[in-house]
Every structure is written in C-alpha cells, then in structure tokens.
C-alpha cells in the first residue's frame, strides 16, 4: 500500500506550549484510523499537521505529493448563520484553476453529483441552517469530497449529534472508506465510535499506543492516555469502557438518609 503521510519524530507547538511530542505515525492508502485522547491532547493539531496546516518545529512530515486531502471541521465550529446555500458551501473547495467568481457548469455538475451521492441532491439551494444534524455534517463531507481526495480527515464527526445521526454519519464514513478512501477521524467517543474502527491511535501529546481497538483499549493504555483509571469489559469480543465516579456515588450515598433510621425529611 502506498504511504500517504509519514510523521518522523514530529514535535509541534502553539506558542511555547508543545502540543505534539516526538510523533511517529504513518497513514497509508486504505487506512481507517481513529485518534482518541482527552481534550487538549493534540488530536486536532495532529489532524491539521497531517493536512499540512501545522508545521513541525522538530522532526519531519513526509507527504505523497500527488495525494489530495479533504478536511471536514467540527460542525460545532461552523457559523450556521453565514449566508451560504448548501451548493455554495460545497463549491468553496473548488478554488484551483478558475479565476472568475462564478462556478462553471462542470463545477456545479460535480457539486450536485457529490450531493446526490450523499443523499442531498435536492437540497442545493437550501441555507445550511435549514438542515438536520446529519445533513449538516454531510455538507462538509461533500465539500471535502469535491476535492476528490485520497485522504479524508474528519475532526470529531459525531460530536454534539444524537445517536441516530451518529449512526448515519458513521455509516457514511464507512461507505467512503469502502470506496477506497483513507480516513482519519478524531473522536471522544470510545464505545460508540473508537471501538468499531479498524485501528486506533491513543494520544496525549505523544503517542501512547497504536493498534486494533481490542489491543489498545485496555485499562493500562487508557490510564496513561486519560490520566484516570478506567475499567474495560468485553462484550462479544468488543472492548467496552466503563466510567466510574466513586467519589460522586459516595457523596450521594452520604446525602441520602435511609427513612428507616427515623428521619422524616426528603432525601436531597
């Protein structure tokens, strides 16, 4: 398989703060990679570094020069009141090779084809705010797809969406992967998303572990990644992370006074 991006001992920082330290990583054609880690662990920076928008201060990033990258941002960062229709948003990524402002017939045809493929063929003239959560995510997938990428990068594609939309979005990403696209996504969702991916990178400024979910979703790796003990169960061969909040439970138990002890007030 052809290597699309390779990180060799890459260190990146914002200001004085290092956000990625000594990263070695490779993304090849056909990969489907999930990056997991706590907030501030460098997931988005790694995605942007893969895309070429963040330069390392040490190490080097080697890219396949012929490979195009499509980037899908977190929908929570999008200004939904910006005046763009679905088609205008998708056509934004057609910035190469055309000087005049208006889109060519071919551009419009290509955009409509991508929208059709994503099940949004009749929504081109809608404003982006007038869409459901899953459709909003698809607009930005369509924008990335219009670049005909070999590598699709998605930042928290299921963040802030309901269970059904999450299912739709993941179904779409799997379809795109099956069509031959290499995919890298970041996620906070260990059980709903990460456990179902072929390969995971556990990140906390440095790479803690890389491998199949059943190999890296372990109490030891998760404690080193998240800095907190997490219990892992197995369900049908899949790892399931259980989150305990013992101090909250204990505090609750202290507050609830059993009635049989003779108190007559309502428990808090």
């Amino acid at each position: 398989m052809n290597e699309l991006v390779r990180f060799e001992r890459v260190t990146c920082r914002y200001g004085r703060e290092p956000v990625l330290v000594n990263i070695d990583l490779s993304v090849t054609e056909g990969d489907f990679l999930g990056i997991v880690g706590p907030s501030g662990s460098g997931k988005t920076t790694m995605l942007r570094a893969i895309a070429g928008a963040v330069r390392p201060i040490a190490g080097r990033i080697v890219r396949d020069r012929g490979a195009t990258v499509g980037y899908v941002p977190q929908v929570e960062t999008v200004n939904w009141y910006f005046p763009v229709t679905v088609r205008e948003a998708v056509l934004m990524s057609r910035i190469d090779g055309r000087v005049v402002p208006w889109a060519s017939d071919r551009d419009v045809r290509d955009a409509d084809e991508v929208l059709e493929r994503l099940g949004m063929g009749d929504l081109g003239e809608r404003h982006i705010r007038e869409l459901s959560g899953g459709q909003q995510q698809r607009v930005f997938v369509a924008r990335a797809m219009l670049r005909r990428p070999q590598l699709l990068l998605m930042d928290e594609p299921t963040s802030g969406v309901d269970v059904r939309t999450r299912h739709d979005v993941m179904h779409l990403i799997h379809e795109l992967h099956h069509d031959g696209l290499a995919v890298v996504i970041t996620t906070h969702d260990l059980n709903g998303i990460a456990a179902h991916l072929p390969k995971l990178v556990c990140l906390n400024k440095e790479v803690i572990a890389v491998g199949r979910p059943q190999d890296v979703i372990t109490p030891d790796v998760l404690e080193r990644t998240y800095g907190a003990p997490l219990e892992v169960l197995s369900h049908g061969g899949m790892p399931v992370v259980v989150e305990h909040y013992p101090e909250v439970v204990e505090a609750d138990e202290r507050r609830v006074v059993p009635l049989r002890e003779g108190h007559h007030g309502h428990p808090a």
């Binding site: 990258v69 205008e88 910035i95 190469d96």
Partner: protein
Amino acid sequence: MDTLLEPFGYAFFRNAIAVATLAGALCGLVGVYVVLRGMSYIGHGLSHAIFGGAVASYALEVNLYLGAGIWGLVSAVLILLIARRRSIGADAAIGVITSASFAIGIVIISVIGSFTRNFDAVLFGNVLGVSTGDVATVGVVAGFIAVAVFLRYRQLLFTTFDPEVADVSGVSTARMDILLAVMLTALITVCMNVLGVTMIAAMLVIPPVVGRLLTDSFHRMLWISVGVGTFSGFVGVYLSYYLDWASGPAVVLTAALLFVFAYIVSSVKRRRLPEAALDAHI
C-alpha cells in the same frame, strides 16, 4: 423634468453624485466581508485611525492620501494580526489599535500647536466640494477593489466563512487578510473627504446588513449590498440638494431607511415560514 435634472447642470453636483455613488458601491462591496467577519466596528475604528494618519501626514508635509493610506494599512494589518489571537478578539484589537492611532494624531496636533488646515471635511465629509481629480481617485480605487474581489472571490469567501479549512485547502488566508486590509484602507482613505470618517463606518455596515436580511445566499447578499450602497449614495446626494441637508448624513439616512424596509420585509417573510424551516438544526 427640467426641475428634476436641474442639479446635473452644475459641475460640483455631477462630481458629488458620481463620487458618492462610487463610494456607496465600494462600501457595500467591502462591507460584506467586514460584517461577515464580525468586524463591523473596524470601519469606525479604522476611519479614526486614518484621521490620525491624515493629521500626521499634514504635520510632516507628506501627501495626505499616501501618508494616511500607509498609516491606515499598518493599523488594519495590526488589527487583523491581533484579532487572530482568540484570547483578545477582533473588537478589542480594533479598540486598542485605532484609538492609539487616533491619539497619536491628537498628540501631533497638540505638539505642533495650531493648524492652518481645517480637518472638518475629513471628519464630516464635504461631498459638494470634491474635484474632478477626487472623482478620478475614487474611480481608480473602485476599479482596483472590483478587480481584486473579482479575481479573489472564492478565496475571500472561503477565508471569511471557514479560515481554518481554507488554510488546509490551499488558500493563503494570511494573504486574504492583507488584501482585505489593503482594500479597506484604500476605501476609507479616498472616501474620507467625501463621506467623512464617521459616515464611512455606517456605510460599511448598513448595506451588507440589508443584504443579509433579504437573502441567505452569499453572492446575492453581495449584489444587494452593492446595490443598496450605490442607491444610497446617488439618492442621498440628490435629496440633499433639494432638502438642503448635509450630504453625508443624507446618504446614511437613505441607507438606514432601506434597512427599516428590509427589516420589515424579512420579519414578514419569517412569520410566513414554518418554524421547522427557520431552525431545523435545533
């Protein structure tokens, strides 16, 4: 008919209406990017900063357009650079840079003591006093801005909507920021004597807001904004002749009336739409 065409018999009026129409169109065009970036206050701030530059240019005996233009460009670039730091934000960056720049102008006035030149025209505009040379200058700047927006339409739109992804997708967002700063500075510098620094700020904001109220499409908003700016410049100056009003405020009030009209139209439109279509994502 003769009465309606009467003012066009005067050269000063022809110059005035030409320059106000061009200035209105320019403000409408550049203002779209300013408003959509959430930097509506930049017009107000930058026009004050450029006023400081105009005073300094006069004191240092430098060409007014050149001195004020360079001064304004440096201020605009500093604002855009500082605004990129999220901990500060665009509004605070505008406040710091432009008031400091304005203050430098005032300090120069106080150090030099007295001026033989009256800066009222720069502050409040004097559209009836513009020369054919002023019209030509505004025309050249209008041409430059129109060509720049035409050639960089897609990059400017992408940078305004989603700078982070634009960057990843091969758009030089830093260059687009500088282009916007250059356009804004050129616009304010040449329109200072026409509309006045206080009225430019209003004309950078009102036409785009009217456009935004009437459409959800970017390119339609751009056309509406340019149309509102052009109409306000033309009608404002024309009415000021008959009403004997100051021209700058007449232009701004015309635009404000269009805003009221657009607000009513959009309110009626919203009431007619089913709720689901208004906020489907919630």
